[in-house]
Symmetry: C2
Subunit: 156 residues, 2 copies
């Protein structure tokens, strides 16, 4: 949105606007993709986070690994647990903060949707070059590390 003409500024702002748009697009896509598995985008993401975790994780750990708040992750974890896809496991270090693991059916479901996902990606990813995607990932990661929230805006 800048009125100034600098190309870097424009690309920066454009990137942000495209992120917003891509986010909406991808959530819609993910929901449609996950629907046949009785999942939503959000539950699928959480399923993946649990499936790929090297060790059992607590809710706050999962939240921070996904970049969302503790409560946001907890909401999905509670739902997955209700649906029998995840279970709580007593955490010896923290009586109040259990580990979450996938159940058998959670693991099986993840495997099914992940297989289908890979098939899908195979059809679609041909339109992209690995280099461009790598640069995109790196650039977005840099944006994510950047938290210019601290007080530079500071007229508050």
């Amino acid at each position: 949105m800048p009125r100034s003409a600098n190309a870097l500024y424009k690309h920066f702002t454009d990137t942000i606007l495209q992120v917003f748009r891509a986010n909406g697009q991808l959530i819609g896509w993910g929901d449609r993709f996950a629907a046949p598995f009785e999942l939503t985008s959000a539950r699928w993401q959480m399923l993946g986070a649990l499936a790929l975790a090297a060790q059992p994780l607590t809710a706050p750990q999962i939240a921070s690994s996904m970049g969302v708040t503790r409560q946001g992750a907890q909401k999905q974890l509670n739902l997955l647990t209700e649906e029998g896809l995840a279970v709580r496991l007593a955490n010896p270090h923290h009586k109040r903060s259990p580990f979450y693991l996938l159940t058998e059916s959670g693991t099986a479901l993840y495997r099914r949707i992940d297989d289908e996902w890979n098939r899908h990606v195979a059809e679609v990813s041909g339109a992209f070059s690995a280099e461009d995607l790598a640069i995109t990932v790196r650039t977005l990661a840099r944006i994510n590390e950047l938290h210019p929230l601290d007080d530079e805006g500071g007229e508050q």
Copy 2:
């Protein structure tokens, strides 16, 4: 999330996950940035859409230009109108679908936040190269054009 090892697949999936994370990050950032102006991220975006429009636009036109639904755009437009930042203008072509324009105060507010935004971008964009940002924009745009929703997943 793929279990398969292909680098392109991995980068594709990683891109998606980074988009989700960047979206959350940027909304949080935008909200903090806009708060001193009594705006939210969403209202700021809508303000920008109106400010930069070449001609007066109707709600459905704005919605499609922003990549959101008609109702989502309408909600923000109604709020901006209530707040006196935008006004409805009779549309000769569509009696029920007025144009939306910024008011004087809406324009002034946009100018203020945009100036501050450009100052902010100047501080932050040094960490990025114009080329990487351009590639990122292009890649995200390609994702946005891609709607693999149609029926390829098709086990529904």
